[in-house]
């Protein structure tokens, strides 16, 4: 996608998700007001009071769910704001998990982000990093069996930092070769952010490691 197209898509999506949150805010306050009014009803004066409260709780739960989804979509849209910016690894991995876990869960694989050991950040292109992570994560369920896990973890590396996409659980034979053959298709994106993909094998945890150089700009 060209920069102008990305900026356009990002701007409109960010604006609409903000408006969605405004709508949720009005629904939440309206259901909250109904809940307040219910609380004020004398005991026994309203036959279906408990049912009303249950429905209001459902509305609140769904509002909270919708807000989280809108917030994530908003963050994704803002990842297109600036081609190069300071990217906090904990935020990036959390966003990647929340955006992509539905896609891998359909294949009975769990996607998680490990708690970072330190506050790691790097000047890079968050949209492209997400695209690379998505491309790799979508392939990983093909080498894992249902019940497996993908765990994302960032760590310092000699020239920048690294993101390990660890695959936990039984794997298909020859999984390393299967994944490696797909790496060249991401060549342009990797070069654009000064990154490399490699297989991580024992004694390090098994999976794929994405190394990002500090001077990728």
């Amino acid at each position: 996608m060209r920069d102008l197209e990305k900026a356009f898509w990002g701007k409109i999506t960010a604006s609409v998700t903000h408006e969605i949150k405004n709508t949720y805010a009005i629904i939440q306050e309206s259901s909250g007001l109904l809940s307040d009014l219910l609380t004020l009803q004398p005991e026994g004066s309203l036959i279906h009071k408990e049912k009303f409260q249950r429905v209001l709780d459902t509305i609140n739960n769904q509002v909270n769910r919708g807000v989280i989804l809108a917030t994530r979509l908003n963050q994704f849209a803002h990842s297109m704001d600036e081609p190069w910016t300071e990217v906090k690894m904990a935020d990036l991995l959390e966003l990647a998990v929340s955006l992509l876990q539905r896609l891998v869960r359909r294949r009975e694989i769990e996607l998680k982000a490990a708690t970072p050991e330190a506050d790691l950040s790097i000047r890079s292109n968050p949209f492209r990093l997400l695209l690379i992570l998505d491309s790799v994560i979508e392939r990983l369920p093909e080498v894992l069996k249902p019940g497996g896990q993908i765990v994302l973890q960032s760590s310092p590396a000699p020239e920048g930092l690294a993101i390990l996409l660890e695959v936990q659980g039984p794997k298909q034979a020859g999984w390393e070769g299967f994944l490696e053959q797909f790496f060249p298709s991401l060549k342009d994106f990797l070069e654009a952010v000064g990154a490399e993909l490699a297989i991580s094998s024992p004694p390090t945890p098994e999976g794929v490691i994405l190394t990002i150089k500090t001077s990728g700009e």
Binding site: H18, E19, K21, N22, Y24, A25, I26, I27, Q28, E29, S30, G32, L33, D36, V63, V67, H78
Partner: protein, 152 residues
């Protein structure tokens, strides 16, 4: 709490109406404004103690209202409440002197707790001002430092 005047400013009229009613049920009934211009006019007519202020509004937006209020009425404690919040907006609002920055939809408990925090800050300001006028600058400074620590 009722001794403090609250002004709720947001261009979403249904939001203002419902949130206003809920605050009123908790003894924090606000006056309301639906644009930045209306808010500035109400402030000039009857200075509120605490403002709950949206950012994105037609005409004068919330950030500009905050800028003008902090310059002309520094005593007013401004709580930003917005659905359009970005980290940059939050940094800017805090740099301009907003008391707090909350995102919509907001948990009412959090909002009322923040309003109470703003009220305590105002009480501390009044007390500190009295000590300062009496020449006890050190006690005035101590009160303000404690108030800042308490509301963070």
């Amino acid at each position: 709490m009722s001794k403090f005047k609250i002004l709720l400013v947001d261009d979403e009229e249904e939001f203002v109406r419902t949130l206003g009613e809920r605050l009123e049920m908790r003894g924090m009934g606000p006056d309301t404004a639906f644009t930045g211009e209306q808010a500035l006019q109400k402030i000039a007519e009857e200075e509120p103690d605490i403002m709950i202020l949206d950012i994105k509004m037609p005409g004068i937006d919330g950030m500009e209202v905050l800028r003008r209020v902090r310059k002309a009425y520094p005593r007013i404690q401004v709580i930003m409440l917005t659905a359009h919040g970005t980290d940059k907006d939050e940094e800017e609002a805090k740099r301009l002197g907003a008391f707090a920055y909350l995102r919509k939809p907001v948990d009412l408990e959090l909002l009322t707790k923040t309003i109470r925090g703003a009220a305590k800050r105002l009480e501390a300001l009044s007390m500190a001002s009295a000590f300062a006028e009496a020449g006890d600058v050190e006690t005035a400074k101590k009160i303000m430092d404690e108030a800042k620590g308490r509301v963070k």
